[in-house]
């Protein structure tokens, strides 16, 4: 009986600590969202305003070009760069994710099912490419891209993001495919399927969970990437992260607009992750834990 009450006390204390941690982790996020809806005068209010009259001025300011008119009203002259940069992020993020997951699934299948010479070394090599600091590889890549005229092109960034996600995708997918029993395909082969057909019709449907989890991680990486985007793009293919960063430098930091840009930018990934949350725990352990 005494042990029971002690356990219950522990349980309650644990829940309280979790609640505090939750507040600690979410306050900055709340602050981003609330700042994006704050009127300009409330952005720097001291003490900070937790309640205010929400406005979408910051979003208007973010999405349009304009100047302050003499009557104190903002004159809109056109659409700003930001929508275009968001579109770049979407295109580059999703295409490179699709390519990385596709290529990764294929090579993972081959590594999982066939004898490959020096398999262990090859797999280690593939993983090790991911460990490299981007700043260290980016110098020769920059020279290479400059020579090939790939700087500031969508194709260039897609190629880069595919490369550094494909190693991760291979490793993660190998963990999933290893767990699909070989017997399924062998039965199909006996029935006259070709290997390729068996891969499409048997293996792929079985690894949907794995593909989904891998895609989430690849998308998050590509979506948030900053270093390569900063160095390899200038205008045409510039994605949202370096664009948000450069807003910092301009005179008079428009925190409201930065917050608005940030909120729009992080929304897709957070929503996507929440949809996929069931697969996440499994995915993040890189097959280290079998379920």
């Amino acid at each position: 009986m005494k042990r029971e009450t002690k356990k219950k006390t522990y349980h309650i204390i644990a829940l309280i600590v979790i609640a505090i941690a939750l507040i600690f982790y979410l306050i900055p996020v709340y602050w981003i969202i609330s700042t994006s809806f704050k009127p300009y005068v409330d952005t720097f209010a001291m003490p900070p305003k937790f309640w205010f009259k929400p406005t979408i001025d910051n979003y208007k300011g973010l999405m349009t070009e304009g100047y302050m008119g003499t009557d104190g009203k903002r004159q809109v002259t056109g659409v700003s760069q930001y929508p275009r940069q968001l579109l770049n992020s979407v295109l580059i993020g999703f295409i490179s994710t699709a390519l990385a997951v596709g290529l990764g699934t294929m090579s993972a299948y081959a590594f999982s099912r066939f004898p490959v010479k020096g398999k262990g070394d090859l797999l280690f090599f593939i993983l090790s490419t991911r460990m490299m600091p981007p700043v260290a590889v980016v110098i020769p890549l920059f020279l290479m891209y400059r020579a090939l005229h790939l700087i500031d092109t969508h194709f260039g960034l897609i190629l880069l993001y595919t490369t550094f996600n494909v190693s991760f995708a291979t490793w993660m997918m190998k963990g999933f495919i290893d767990e699909i029993p070989k017997e399924y395909e062998e039965a199909a082969l006996v029935d006259g399927y070709t290997r390729f057909k068996a891969f499409i019709k048997i293996v792929l449907p079985q690894s949907v969970t794995g593909i989904a989890a891998t895609a989430v991680f690849c998308l998050i990486t590509a979506w948030n990437e900053f270093t390569f985007a900063l160095i390899m793009t200038t205008k045409n293919a510039r994605t949202a992260p370096p664009s948000l960063a450069s807003r910092m430098g301009s005179s008079g930091v428009e925190w409201g607009q930065i917050a608005a840009g940030t909120f729009i930018f992080l929304l897709p990934v957070v929503v996507f992750t929440f949809i996929m949350r069931k697969h996440l725990l499994r995915g993040v352990t890189f097959g280290a834990i079998k379920k």
Partner: protein, 338 residues
Amino acid sequence: MGSIANASKMRGMQDYRLKMMFIMPTLILLIVMNIFPLLWSLVLSFTKYSAIASESPTFVGTRNFTQLLSDSSTWSYFRTTAYFVLLAVIAQFIIGFGLALLLNRDFKGKSFIVPLLLIPMMLSPVVVGLFWRFILDTQWGLLNYLISLFPSTIHAIAEGINKIAYSISFPYIISPSITDSLQQATNDARGIIWLTKPNMALFSLVIIDTWMWSPFMMLLSLAGLSAVPKYLYEAADIDRASGWFKFRHITLPLVSPLLFIALLFRTMDAFKLFDLVIIATNGGPGSATETVSLNLYRRAFESWNTGESCALAYILLVIIIALSNIYIKYLNKARSGS
């Protein structure tokens, strides 16, 4: 009989072609985009070369390396990075693993709360850096305001840090100056200077990085904890084992491989720290938060000393490979031990 042998030979050919078709694109991509550039930069690291000058590279032997390694400022960048890695990874480990221990129970809304806790690690470092800059602002930052609401708590924390630092005689970071500034700050809580004061800036980066990445530690620890079979605890309960005993002899050995993976990933990532710093402090004030990666970026894309920066990239690469090998050795040990 013959036709079966023929069929299996056919199957072998078919399999071989498929195998090549499936592996080659990935390998070619990695070789073209990783190995080839690395070889190129190895060559460049022995030359004097600037990517924006019209002169072609001239061979200078190992001069770039000897110059870099004998320059004391290079070492100070490595030292800054090392302090950051050490503090950040330890803080993330303690907080992440601690939270996972707390979360490893059934309660209402768990499936909703765990992903909520993961939001920081889903954000871009750019976003995190920008926003913490706003939150840590001295005059109108949210954090200073919140701290000013509870001065006595902060006072106690500063005292605590001071005591710990004194007892383990930790150098540099938790040096008196930091606790001093913490204590001074409690007297005037609205005036803590986070990002623009040499000693505090690195400490602030540790706070930001910990906020962002301790959820990752938590997630991996939680995955490890939830995989520990329940019957082991039940058996220990029958033997009336203490909580500490269960933790030491059941939980820890079974979770440690995953913990090592998490530590490996975080150490490597912290070592590469670039985007967060360039946004939050831009290496400042002075060069107090100039990490190796940031310095490398400056050398390569601001002063355009391409040859020299290739050499620095290689030094960094060697250190990272050495570090990961040490980790992997421990990982294998932990695996075979459990």
